[in-house]
Structure formats: structure tokens, C-alpha cells
């Protein structure tokens, strides 16, 4: 067959994807169809195109049949375009002489009727064949990358990632919006399933962060703006005024004692409101940095503008500065790791559980503080009146597995409920009743932990609690909180009077997840968790190169999984830095000076100011290094002078024609 440039030799490969595609699409028929399309020299179908033999098939045909263009009809290009481009390159073909037809995600998986799925697949393949005939060989450009990483969120995820990267000798900016790092884990006394002391394993890591020469800890700070791209981000960080000079304060606490408020008066955020603090305070003894902070909402000077400022007087180091202003810092980073964690469900949304109405209904997080030896009660489990509870109910799945709140399983609450059952029993000797829907304990040593709790004699009742009430129906219920549930394993409804109720609240995305996501140009799942590139194969990558996610911001998870992800994100960031460069997709715009009328329409279109006018020649010129390939200018040019590589008008019209020439 003769090879004319107008009609290059095309190879078409139809993937079965096991049965994923083959079940809905008649792959043989589609292949026969493809074989008869103009320019197609080879058409094959194969079980798994992305597998090694599948890729070799392409390489071999390029070499043996002299293919000049390749079309693979398989899954989404977002998944495997890179794979097949590499295969083409390995076969000696320019990787951009390639086109993918998405017949899995957009055909086989979404089409009920087999016949119509087959037709749609044919149309998409016809389109790809038409389009690829117009494809042009292109070159990728390389850009050098920096060697610094910004990590957002100083929970265990952020801390672990920061230490990993810093230990590898790279600079880390750890941005935490609270006055201290530590996240949720810092609040716990013990962690399941080993019951090792949270502080014992966390605080050494926290102080390593503070002391590490490669880590710049930016607490009480938030990311304002992110510009740039993988390898070369420019990030603006806003430092909130602490009203204390961090570098001067040594955390002696003199100022706290001296404050005009003689007694702590305001609910402590760190202690979930179970303890009180002054306007100037240290969140908790091991806070990192070990520096006080002055709360602008309660400090007299900062609210009323009038105070004796005893604190200022007390500080011998002159660390307090009530006039401190927010500060903006701009840093460069090659990579970003977002590790902003989660928030617990607010049970006020479920009034039937009486949180906020009955004093002795607590959230799990409050009880975490209560059982903490350095917490507000010194580790004692006590009721509001100071007495020890004789019986305690723990309610699982509060705000989880419920269409009305959150449909998902929060994954850690079964385990932490078991942990709290153990701690409460140990500290108070109370009878503990645990109400669960399913006991979810998948993890190393987790089922064994459940077994241990069973043995300890916690009363497990399978049934979701309908309500908690102080309406007594019997003598024994008087003065108690009564928990109502069907004991679904025994088959009767039960009312159990208890002194204290713990609500095992679920995990939900941070309330500002949407704003954070926009800043970093990453996506959220429907529920609001940050979206990973692939749930199995790229769990810490995002769709934005150079931005990784780790920990509970990606979905509910426990500390072991969080740390695993943090390690993964850190090593992916390090891999990028180590590689030293990024490759830029050659989908940039180009102006044809012959056609350009110099009207300047395009200049205002480009969000990246990538186009300027060559005053001498009177035409527009695109700066390839700045162009990100959106194509907006192309659509705008009245003279049709701009084209976008990989998305030329020609290619798109061709694709359109392919689609419409076939039903």
C-alpha cells in the first residue's frame, strides 16, 4: 500500500479490558469495522491493551507494518494515555501521533444496550481515526524544578510527611492554621489497637518538626494563593497575628498568670470546651511551637482597646506585641502536600440524641480529652456533677451511615468506640453498653482488640439507637438517661438507663474544603473529600501535577493509614524533586504571523498573559513557557490565526466528522 501524507497508515487497537469492555461492546465487530476505515492498515483487538504484550503489539506493528498513527480504543485517556504514548515512542513513533477512544468509561460502563454500545464505540473509533490522521508530531518541553515542599496541615499526616522530606535533605514549609501542630491525634490519650500513649509517639515527632533544620514551621498560618505549576509553584502564606513574637517567647507562662483575667474563663478549643483558658494561653503543655497566643476575640485590649496589659508587663522577654499585624510570606515550592484532615460531625444536627440538651451526653472527642491524663479532668471519667458514672452508653455511627447526615462509614469510630469503652471501664469501672450497627474492625490486630473488649465484658448491643431521653418509664430509669434501641440479635427493643452517653461522631470533610481545593486546583468527591487520581493506583496523587494529598482529608482513615499515605505523598514529592524536571504537555497555542491581523483580541483572553504583541511585526506572539494550553485565545481569534497544538481546529473538525458520519 502506498503511503501518502494525506492518508497516513493507522493502526487501531480495540481493548477488551478483560470483560469490562467486551461484555457490552462486540469487540470483534468493532475491529472489523475499524479495519475498513480510511487509512487503517492494521486493526486488532486484544484482552488487555495496557499489559506488556498489548503494548508490544503496538510497537511491533509500528516497526513491522510501518504505522504512522495509532488509535487505542480502551479506557479513559486520563488513565492510560501516557501508557500508550510511551508505547508508541518505544516503537519509534512520535508519541503525539496517537489518539485514544474512550469506550470503557464512556461506552461499556454506561450503556445498557449491547447493540447501541457497539454503535457508539464504532462512532468514537471512527472519530479517533479521522482525528489522528491530522495529528502532528510534537516535542515535550522540559522545565527544571525547585527543591522545596509546602505541606498544608500539621496533623500527623503533615508532620510525618514533613519529617520524611526534611530527612531527605529537602526544605519543607509546614503550614498549620492552628496555634499548634498535632491535629486530632494530639488530643488523644491512647490510640487503638495497641493502646499506646498518643503523646508518647506524637510529641517526639512534634519537637523534631520544630527543631529540624530543614523544616520551617509556620503555625497559625494559612495558604492564601497558589500560582505556578508542578515544580515551580509560588505560594503566598498568610501568618495570622499571634500578638506574641514567636522567636522571643519561651513559653514560660508568666504572661498567662499575669493576665488581668484572674481566672480562666473562656472555653478552651483544644479541650473541646471541657476546660477554660484565658485570652492569653498555651493550647496544651506540649504545644508546638511552645509559644503562647493571644485570642483577639477575648483579649480586652484587642476587643475593647482598653486593658492594663499586665501580660506585656509580665513578659521579661518583651515577646508580646498587641499591635502585631497579619504578615504575608511568599515561598517557592516544587511540590505541595495537602494534609488538612477532617472535622468531627456536630451531633447538634441530631436532636434525638440530646447533645447540648442533656449535660451528660458527650461527643467522643470530648471524652478523648476527658480520659487524657493531661486533660481537663486529669484522666478521670466524671459526670457534670463530678460523680463517677456507673453506667455509660456508647452510640456508634452518629452522623455516619445515614442518608440524612452522611452516607459513608467513618471507618475509625468502631475502633475508637472500642478504645473508649476500654478506657471508660478502666477509669470509672462503669458498665459500658455499646450500641452498634455492624462492628467494623478490619485491620491488623483490630478484630483481636474487639475480642479483648468482648472478654472485658462490655455489653454490645446490635441496634441503632433511636433516641436518648430522660423520660422515665420505670423507677430504675428515674434520674437517668434512657437509651432506646432494638436489640436486633435478641429480637426485643430495649431501654437501658445510663448515667453518661458518648456519641461516636463520624468524620466529615473540613468545612473549608471547597476553598482549599480551589486554591490548589484539586477536586473533591461528591462528599467533599479531596479526590485522589485513582482510588487504587494513585491514592495520594491528584489531577493536578505536583499536588499530593495525604491523611484524613482524602477520606476517613486511622493513624496507620494516614501515616502510610503521608509517607507515600512525601516520596512522590521527593521523586519529582529528584527527577529535576517536569515535562510540559505540548498543547500550547501558536500564532500564524501570516494570518494575524494584529487586532489584539487574544491578548486580553489569556489568563496567563502569555501573548504579547510584537510591535515591530504588528502581530501577536505566544510565549510557550507561559502558555498552559487552555485554547481560549484560539476560540477568540477573529482571523483564525491561532492554533493550539494537539487541539487544532482541523483535528476537532475531523473528529466531529468521524463522529457524525456514523450513528
Amino acid at each position: 500500500m502506498s503511503q501518502s501524507p494525506a492518508c497516513p497508515r493507522i493502526g487501531v487497537y480495540v481493548c477488551h479490558c478483560g470483560m469490562n469492555i467486551a461484555k457490552q461492546v462486540a469487540v470483534e465487530a468493532v475491529t472489523e469495522f475499524a479495519a475498513r476505515l480510511p487509512g487503517v492498515a492494521v486493526a486488532r483487538h486484544y484482552k488487555f491493551m495496557c499489559s506488556d504484550p498489548g503494548q508490544e503489539l503496538i510497537q511491533q506493528d509500528i516497526k513491522e507494518s510501518g504505522l504512522e498513527r495509532v488509535v487505542v480504543a480502551s479506557c479513559s485517556p486520563l488513565l492510560h494515555e501516557a501508557t500508550f504514548r510511551k508505547a508508541c515512542a518505544a516503537g519509534g513513533l512520535n508519541p503525539f501521533c496517537f489518539q485514544m477512544a474512550n469506550i470503557r468509561e464512556q461506552v461499556a460502563w454506561v450503556t445498557a444496550d449491547k447493540g447501541r454500545a457497539t454503535s457508539k464505540a464504532k462512532a468514537l473509533i471512527a472519530a479517533a481515526v479521522e482525528r489522528v490522521s491530522r495529528a502532528q508530531p510534537l516535542e515535550r518541553k522540559r522545565l527544571a524544578v525547585g527543591d522545596k515542599v509546602v505541606i498544608v496541615g500539621g496533623g500527623i499526616a503533615g508532620i510525618h510527611a514533613a519529617l520524611t522530606i526534611a530527612d531527605a535533605g529537602k526544605k519543607v514549609y509546614l503550614v498549620e492554621r492552628e496555634p499548634t501542630i498535632g491535629g486530632h491525634m494530639a488530643k488523644f490519650d491512647k490510640t487503638f489497637p495497641t493502646l499506646d500513649c498518643a503523646a508518647c509517639i506524637l510529641t517526639p515527632k512534634m519537637s523534631s518538626v520544630k527543631n529540624h533544620p530543614n523544616i520551617e514551621l509556620m503555625s497559625y498560618s494559612e495558604v492564601e494563593k497558589v500560582e505556578g505549576f508542578a515544580g515551580n509553584f509560588k505560594i503566598t502564606i498568610q501568618k495570622k497575628p499571634r500578638y506574641v513574637h514567636e522567636e522571643l517567647c519561651v513559653g514560660c507562662g508568666e504572661c498567662v498568670d499575669a493576665c488581668v483575667f484572674p481566672k480562666a474563663k473562656f472555653p478552651s478549643e483544644f479541650d473541646e470546651g471541657l476546660a477554660l483558658r484565658k485570652p492569653v494561653y498555651m493550647p496544651f503543655p506540649q504545644a508546638t511551637p511552645a509559644v503562647v497566643v493571644i485570642d483577639p476575640n477575648t483579649c480586652l485590649q484587642l476587643t475593647k482597646g482598653k486593658c492594663k496589659q499586665k501580660c506585656v508587663e509580665a513578659c521579661q522577654r518583651g515577646a508580646i506585641d498587641l499591635k502585631q499585624e497579619p504578615e504575608q510570606v511568599e515561598v517557592e515550592a516544587a511540590a505541595v502536600i495537602v494534609a488538612t484532615g477532617f472535622k468531627t460531625f456536630d451531633p447538634r444536627g441530631l436532636p434525638q440524641y440530646g447533645y447540648g440538651r442533656y449535660g451528660n451526653v458527650y461527643t467522643s472527642l470530648e471524652v478523648e480529652r476527658m480520659v487524657n491524663a493531661s486533660g481537663p479532668t486529669g484522666g478521670e471519667v466524671v459526670l457534670k456533677d463530678g460523680a463517677k458514672p456507673r453506667s455509660v452508653a456508647i452510640i456508634h455511627c452518629v452522623g455516619s451511615r445515614d442518608k440524612k447526615t452522611h452516607p459513608w462509614c467513618s471507618r475509625v469510630c468502631c475502633m475508637y468506640s472500642l478504645k473508649l469503652a476500654h478506657l471508660v471501664k478502666e477509669r470509672s469501672g462503669a458498665d459500658v453498653f455499646s450500641f452498634y450497627i455492624d462492628m467494623r474492625t478490619p485491620g491488623k490486630g483490630y478484630e483481636e482488640f474487639y475480642d479483648r473488649l468482648l472478654e472485658e465484658g462490655v455489653h454490645f448491643i446490635r441496634g441503632r439507637v433511636s433516641h436518648i431521653t430522660d423520660w422515665a418509664m420505670t423507677k430504675a430509669e428515674e434520674g437517668k438517661l434512657v437509651v432506646s434501641a432494638e436489640d436486633s440479635l435478641i429480637g426485643v427493643t430495649r431501654r437501658i438507663p445510663v448515667d453518661m452517653v458518648i456519641l461516636s461522631v463520624g468524620l466529615e470533610p473540613q468545612p473549608d474544603a471547597q476553598e482549599v481545593r480551589k486554591k490548589f486546583n484539586i477536586s473533591c468527591s461528591q462528599e467533599g473529600w479531596f479526590l485522589e487520581r485513582h482510588p487504587k493506583l494513585a491514592p495520594v496523587a491528584t489531577f493536578t501535577d505536583g499536588v499530593w494529598i495525604a491523611g484524613a482529608c482524602q477520606g476517613p482513615k486511622d493513624i496507620p493509614d494516614t501515616v502510610a499515605q503521608a509517607g507515600a505523598a512525601a516520596s512522590e514529592a521527593l521523586a519529582l524533586i529528584d527527577k529535576g524536571y517536569v515535562e510540559i504537555e505540548p498543547n500550547t497555542a501558536e500564532v500564524d504571523p501570516e494570518a494575524c491581523s494584529g487586532c489584539k483580541t487574544c491578548l486580553g483572553m489569556c489568563p496567563y498573559h502569555a501573548i504579547r504583541r510584537d510591535e515591530e511585526k504588528g502581530v501577536a506572539v505566544v510565549n510557550e513557557a507561559l502558555c498552559k494550553g487552555c485554547g481560549t485565545c484560539v476560540a477568540a481569534c477573529p482571523s483564525g490565526a491561532i492554533s493550539q497544538h494537539m487541539f487544532t481546529d482541523d483535528e476537532i473538525y475531523q473528529e466531529l466528522e468521524g463522529i457524525l458520519s456514523y450513528v
Binding site: 474487639y450 468482648l454 472478654e455 472485658e456 448491643i461 420505670t474 430504675a476 440479635l489 435478641i490
Partner: protein
């Protein structure tokens, strides 16, 4: 509406016997009761669970939760044939057969078994016979049992008894233990007098 049976099905905590699970768990073999994960393997493997009012799994759950009345009055503990299937299959190593024994004993102690229910009666007969003679006599025990529980049935059993007699498989006199019968009785009496042993 006539015929509509209405029963209160809620259980108040004070109606339960908080001590009951401990009493059961204190008996040999029943200690692991709490570790039950309610998987139901015991009920599924039990050859007679299809006739039980409470499946073995529910017996475990209810025992553990203190449903003493319901458990001791259930037919389950008497239907248990001691086949040990459940004990072998239980993923948590709970000796359910022993739990059933423990419950039988408690039911007898508390006189909470169905009147005229043959099994407890049979057990008592057996008990007396062994004390007298050191050995049991199946034929005699069975006869007494039937007389005490369902005398009419005895008539139906006559042909079988006769046949056994003819084949030499049943004797009307009791085979007695040779030798030191006193020793055996002393042994049993010792257990009675030393209540602290139980």
C-alpha cells in the same frame, strides 16, 4: 379485634438479671460466653436448632444480656443433644455445649423447666440409679421416665421393649458394679457435703 394477640415486647433493664451472665460464666466451659460475636455458626450447625424456640446463638446473646427467665424457660436447653457440633465450629472457641449444660443445671436448680418435660426427669432417674448401683440401666430409666412424663406412651413402647428383651439387649434387673460400692457412694456424698467445691 378478637384474636389479635398483644404482648409487651420492650425489655426494661431492671427486668433483667444482671447477675445471671456471671453465674453462667462461672461454670466450667462457659467462661468465654462474652466473646461471642453472634455469627450464628452454632445455630446453623446445630442438628436440632430448627425445633428450638431460641437458637443457640440467641441463647448465648440473651444469657450474656441477663435474660434469665427467657433462657431458662426455653426448650432449647432441653433439646440440645450434646452433639458438640457447635463447640467444634464456634470461631471464638465458645463451648456452647457446656453452656447448655450449665443452663440445664441452673434450670433444674431454679425449677424453671417445663413440667413433664422428659429430659430433666430422665436425668434425675439416671442420677438415682447410678447412686444406688454404680451403673445405669437404660431400660428401667426409660420406663420410669415415660411413666412420669407421659404414661400413655408406655403402651406404645411395649413392643420395642419386648423386642429388646428377646434380643437380650435389655435386662429387668440392674447390672451392679462389682466390689466397692460404698466407695462410690462416699465419693458422691463427699461432693454433696462439700458444697464449697461447687
Amino acid at each position: 379485634m378478637p384474636g389479635l394477640q398483644i404482648q409487651r415486647r420492650v425489655k426494661y433493664q431492671e427486668e433483667l438479671d444482671a447477675d445471671f451472665p456471671r453465674r453462667v460464666a462461672d461454670m466450667p466451659g462457659a467462661a468465654d460466653l462474652n466473646r461471642c460475636i453472634q455469627c450464628g455458626t452454632c445455630s446453623a450447625t446445630c442438628p436440632v436448632s430448627s425445633f428450638m424456640d431460641l437458637t443457640p446463638r440467641r441463647v448465648v446473646a440473651m444469657t450474656r444480656a441477663g435474660f434469665k427467665e427467657e433462657v431458662l424457660r426455653s426448650n432449647t436447653i432441653w433439646l440440645c443433644a450434646s452433639c458438640y457440633s457447635c463447640t467444634v465450629e464456634c470461631p471464638k472457641g465458645i463451648k456452647i455445649t457446656d453452656v447448655m449444660y450449665a443452663l440445664k443445671r441452673l434450670a433444674i436448680q431454679e425449677r424453671a423447666y417445663p413440667r413433664h418435660f422428659p429430659t430433666p426427669v430422665l436425668a434425675r432417674e439416671f442420677f438415682h440409679k447410678v447412686r444406688q448401683t454404680g451403673r445405669s440401666n437404660e431400660g428401667q430409666i426409660a420406663t420410669v421416665m415415660i411413666l412420669k412424663t407421659n404414661p400413655l406412651k408406655l403402651l406404645r413402647q411395649i413392643p420395642l421393649g419386648l423386642k429388646l428383651l428377646v434380643k437380650g439387649r435389655m435386662s429387668l434387673w440392674t447390672e451392679k458394679m462389682s466390689g466397692n460400692k460404698r466407695q462410690l457412694q462416699d465419693l458422691l456424698d463427699y461432693m454433696d457435703t462439700h458444697k464449697e467445691l461447687r
